[in-house]
């Protein structure tokens, strides 16, 4: 296993994702002799995990089963231990594309936080790129370093423990892209500019409040960034459900046989795959939005240095 390379079988020391079902999963560090408790029973690493293929079904002691998945940045994002508020895959995906990241890119990031975005950035710039990430909170910086080591990606990332607004990224003229997720990004725009390559690059700043965006945009303009663009992306997830709606009884006479009447008037009813007429109801498949969804994460402001 590595976060930057697929492996077929589970090995000692791997980080694997235990999938319990219904979006319920958790990460597990595979170790000889260790056991993991789940609601379906115990998983013994030595016998149940090590040597098995990723994607296998593992039967637990109580007869229930779970799937063991290969880690990816996306699965990690859903399961990582939160030390801060994190960025989710929806924002991460647009950030990655708008910053034009690809294998070989050099990226600067601050703050590291819980490392949700960091893992995705490392995945994208590997094997020849590098991530310079700055975190002013010492404990978080240490923890992130430890995680990168465990996940086999430490050679692709440098964690620096300093204040990006005061001391910058610790590198200059080497980055293709800069990402800022800090409370006062406008104070770091100057440092961002000097971290970017002389021939130019892209920058992105993530802020939850419009006032922060405002100040950031002004700072970007001041430092000569162009193509300044602010956007917001929202994810809508749908549950796939079979819905049945009752046909109202409008008091049609019995001989009239209201159900056949409805049938003939609605041609789509003949399509038995999704619509079914049973005891005065109509069935169909629908994508139902979740009752509650994430309404706002943050504004993303992008710009170009040229």
């Amino acid at each position: 296993m590595s976060f930057v390379e697929y492996g077929d079988t589970i090995k000692d020391g791997d980080t694997a994702i235990v999938f319990l079902g219904h979006e319920s999963m958790f990460p597990v560090k595979v170790q000889h002799g260790t056991v993991t408790q789940t609601k379906y029973g115990v998983i013994r690493h030595s016998t149940d995990l090590i040597g098995k293929k990723y994607g296998s079904k593992v039967t637990c002691s109580k007869g229930g089963w779970v799937f063991i998945l290969h880690p990816t940045p996306e699965l990690w994002t859903m399961n990582l231990p939160h030390r801060t508020q994190i960025l989710y895959s929806t924002d991460i995906s647009i950030i990655t594309m708008m910053l034009e990241l690809k294998p070989g890119s050099i990226v600067c990031e601050s703050g590291t936080g819980s490392g949700s975005l960091s893992h995705a950035l490392i995945r994208t710039v590997a094997p020849t790129g590098h991530l310079y990430t700055v975190e002013f909170h010492q404990q978080r910086a240490e923890k992130a370093k430890e995680e990168f080591r465990e996940h086999g990606v430490e050679h692709l990332v440098t964690v620096t423990n300093q204040d990006v607004c005061k001391n910058g990224f610790g590198v200059s003229n080497i980055a293709d892209a800069v990402f800022l997720d800090i409370p006062s990004p406008w104070e770091a725009i100057g440092h961002a500019k000097s971290a970017l390559k002389a021939e130019g690059g892209r920058i992105c700043s993530f802020s939850p409040c419009i006032e922060q965006v405002q100040r950031t945009c002004l700072a970007m303009e001041e430092y000569g960034f162009t193509e300044i663009n602010t956007l917001e992306i929202l994810l809508r997830v749908y549950n796939v459900r079979t819905i049945s709606l009752q046909i109202p009884d409008l008091g049609k006479a019995a001989e009239d046989n209201s159900s056949t009447g409805f049938d003939s008037s609605n041609p789509s009813n003949q399509d038995s795959s999704c619509t079914n007429l049973q005891q005065g109801t109509v069935q169909f498949k629908s994508g139902v939005p979740l009752r509650e969804m994430v309404g706002h994460t943050g504004y993303l402001t992008f710009a170009t240095k040229s």
């Binding site: 930057v4 697929y6 077929d8 999938f19 079902g21 219904h22 979006e23 293929k53 990723y54 994607g55 296998s56 079904k57 089963w65 799937f67 998945l69 290969h70 990816t72 940045p73 996306e74 895959s89 929806t90 995906s93 647009i94 990655t96 594309m97 708008m98 034009e100 690809k102 294998p103 070989g104 995705a120 994208t124 590997a126 094997p127 020849t128 021939e199 130019g200 419009i210 965006v213 405002q214 002004l218 162009t226 300044i228 663009n229 602010t230 956007l231 917001e232 992306i233 929202l234 994810l235 809508r236 997830v237 749908y238 796939v240 795959s273 999704c274 498949k285 994508g287 504004y299 040229s306």
Partner: protein, 449 residues
Amino acid sequence: RKIIFEKQWFYLDNAIGHIYGTTFEVTSGGNLQPKQEVEDTTTETKEAGTDNRNIVDDGKSQKLTHDDIKALKDKGIKGQEIVQQLIENSTTFRDKTEFAQDKYIKKKKKKYEAVITIVKPSTRILSTMYYAREPGKINHLRYDTLAQMLTLGNIRAGNKMIVMETCAGLVLGAVMERMGGYGSIIQMYPGGGPVRAATSCFGFPKLFFDNLHEFPLSKVDSLLSGTFSTETLPSEPEDNALVEEESNGLTGKKQASLQETEEDTNTETAMEINETEEQETTDIDAENVEFKENKEKENRENVREKKQWERRKKLIEAAALLREKNADGLIVASKFHPTPLLLTLLEFVAPSRPFVVYCLYKEPLLECYTKLRERGGVINLKLSETWLRNYQVLPDRSHPKLTMSGGGGYLLSGITVVLDKGKTDASNLEALKMEEPSSKRCKVQDLHC
């Protein structure tokens, strides 16, 4: 070479040697001149009103007539000066609020000051551009949706990806960019050959194409059933083989010239060039068909045989890669119904790998979701859509942009897992024969995974 863009025509010769992101002004002769950062003419706009209570729309506020403006243009006067003239001759300009003045100038500048910026092609630029200019060609796949696909699909260097797309090669190009020439891609194509018009706009180095394979969709079934043989192949896609080779040659040449001059194509124009290329090649194709029985035949016989042989070799390679059934992911974005594509192509994907299907409509994905559940071997199925909202951010004038895109399509994503042996065959048969048990099983699975 003359290029037309936004009602302007120009030659690119002067742009060579400048760095990406340089802005040019179009002069009357169609030449490009680098434009420096100009000081905004803010001196004039100091005077401003506070509201519009006294501004009446009588259609007479602009003292210059259409003919006057045309005369100015014909004289070849700089756009900047025309805008200045318009402002000076607008009676209401001084009464407008500062914000309205800004807006007025912006609007006029857009019209009279023709500036273009030449930028380096990237997925960001190309997908934004295709969505704005040619949405029909990419099945209305919005750029944020494409971004989701790349992330959900865990696209990265070293993967072995299967891509089935009818998006002019844009999705393929995006995947290639993210893989940076590491790993391999097998593009499944319908008809006679893969379309890669958008792919060639990226200007990828030749190395990226070394591990790009293609395999005809129509042979997938025989590959799975084991009856696939290459002998049956050349007969049908014969002419297309030529087209493909030729267009590849063309793009190769273009890339070479690009590298030589260290210059780059304006992405917009690159696309137009490409379109003409496409047309040219299809013309050639048509001609080829006509001439096939005639004199040309002999000269070309040798070349064609060689090309066919190469093509067959590539095809055998692609078939071998697929047969291993250990692909690291599947990306589908096509005009076809996604269900049969997915049910079949997932066979080639290793367990614990992500797959993503794009569809412009939600309903086919609902069906696909149900069928995948019946089939098994997949978990974490998710049907989703993203909304994208752009903002205007200006001092005291920040708000969401007036218009936003109504829809960018839907995605169905999931992760493959090891399929239960025995149960698979049985459930497949049952699913075909009896609706009842399979739907029950589906429910059971729903509960459990």
